[in-house]
């Protein structure tokens, strides 16, 4: 390390120690940049892939009200993905590379989205438990050390609350319905509870990146801390709803299998994303050609930015 690099490294360490944010053009260790890129990309991909399990139910929503809510929610997931891709790109990664690494499997997304949505109750359960777990994970990330990531998380957290509440309300409505509907809710909760707990990642002892990420202020709590907090927060909600939460015993072999693309829907999720991207190619090309056309038609004066 040269004297200049040592000086830069000391400046970086001082910024982190002071609890200040690292901004895109600041010097940062290569490992820090790589870790933030990996985490933010994985987070962005999760939002984008996360549109699929619920999006599948838009055409089969039981009422116009539920359809409008679900459309808004899925649109939010797209928006969240875009905020995060935008944050990730500040570190010099291109959007196209990110999309390609998702499709090739080089970058991961949350294992939860490799589980199927078998009934409309799953839309409620995903909102309540999956988005609930996401909120638990994301609120501390509003204070993450990388500025653009933290700012994206603040926007996301503001919107995520709607996601959880609509899910809880959907389930509460079904719980006030028939025995069959109540059974649907319980069955859905039984399927999603353990996968939702696994969203916090492997146990601390098996989470190789956690310690360094916490030293760098990228993560603020360990996986197990957040998981315990979520279980504690959810118990009274389950009681209010009248559902029983299954046990907290987790099969980590299953977790690793699903993370590595072994989940019931993994192949389908990536194939769908790839097809959507490929199907959009002509739109991207046409818009690019339109923007590049010569001579440019006179533009309506829009005035200076004031």
């Amino acid at each position: 390390m040269t004297a200049v690099e040592a000086d830069l490294a000391a400046g970086f360490a001082a910024t982190i120690a002071a609890g200040d944010r690292i901004e895109p053009r600041d010097w940062m260790p290569e490992g820090y940049r790589r870790t933030v890129v990996r985490q933010v990309a994985q987070h962005a991909h999760s939002e984008i892939i996360g549109m699929q399990p619920e999006g599948a139910w838009i055409t089969r929503a039981p009422s116009l009200r539920r359809k409008a809510i679900l459309l808004a929610k899925v649109q939010d997931e797209a928006g969240h993905g875009l905020y995060l891709y935008s944050a990730c790109e500040t570190l010099g990664v291109s959007r196209q590379d990110l999309t390609e690494q998702l499709i090739s499997g080089a970058q991961k997304y949350s294992s939860i989205f490799n589980y199927p949505t078998l009934s409309y109750a799953d839309v409620g359960t995903i909102g309540w438990l999956v988005d609930g777990a996401a909120i638990c994970n994301q609120v501390p990330l509003c204070r993450t050390s990388y500025g653009p990531y933290g700012r994206a998380m603040i926007r996301i957290c503001k919107e995520e609350s709607f996601h959880q509440r609509q899910g809880f309300e959907l389930l509460a409505t079904m719980m006030r319905g028939t025995d069959e509907q109540r059974a649907m809710v319980q069955e859905s909760v039984d399927r999603f509870w353990r996968p939702a707990l696994m969203m916090f990642g492997p146990p601390d002892a098996d989470s190789p990146n956690t310690q360094q990420s916490m030293e760098w202020g990228i993560k603020r709590h360990t996986n197990d801390e957040l998981r315990a907090r979520f279980i504690e927060m959810t118990a009274p909600q389950a009681a209010a709803l009248g559902v029983t939460l299954p046990g907290n015993d987790l099969d980590w072999d299953e977790f690793w299998r699903v993370v590595k693309g072994g989940g019931p829907c993994a192949t389908e999720r990536i194939a769908h994303r790839k097809q959507a991207h490929d199907d959009g190619a002509w739109v991207r090309e046409a818009a690019t050609a339109f923007a590049a056309r010569e001579p440019r038609e006179p533009q309506e004066p829009r005035g200076a930015a004031r």
Binding site: A72, G79, R155, A281, R284, T288, F290, A305
Partner: protein, 95 residues
């Protein structure tokens, strides 16, 4: 497939009358008009804004990221520019 991407735009939103436009993030768009449309969809889904600016990221000139940059040094030693530099007796009102 072409490797070229749509250019990056920075997005600024005025949340309500009387406030400045604030940077909220970025997005890709083929041209200015579509950048504005995308910005509306991505950054103002809940009436977060009454006005949006978009500007191509490569059109922005930025100062050095280091806060100790000599660019800002001239203001560092001019404490007399701050009102607290001046001692005013406690019994002098409205100042």
């Amino acid at each position: 497939m072409t490797r070229s991407e749509w250019p990056l735009y920075e997005v600024f939103v005025r949340s309500k009358r009387g406030l400045n436009h604030v940077h909220v993030g970025s997005l890709h768009a083929p041209d200015d008009a579509l950048a504005l449309r995308h910005a509306r969809d991505v950054y103002t889904r809940r009436s977060e804004g009454v006005s949006i600016w978009v500007v191509r990221s490569d059109a922005i000139t930025a100062s050095s990221p280091d806060e100790k940059d000599p660019l800002f040094a001239p203001s560092g030693d001019k404490v007399y520019r701050h009102p607290t530099f001046y001692d005013i007796p406690d019994d002098v009102p409205h100042m």
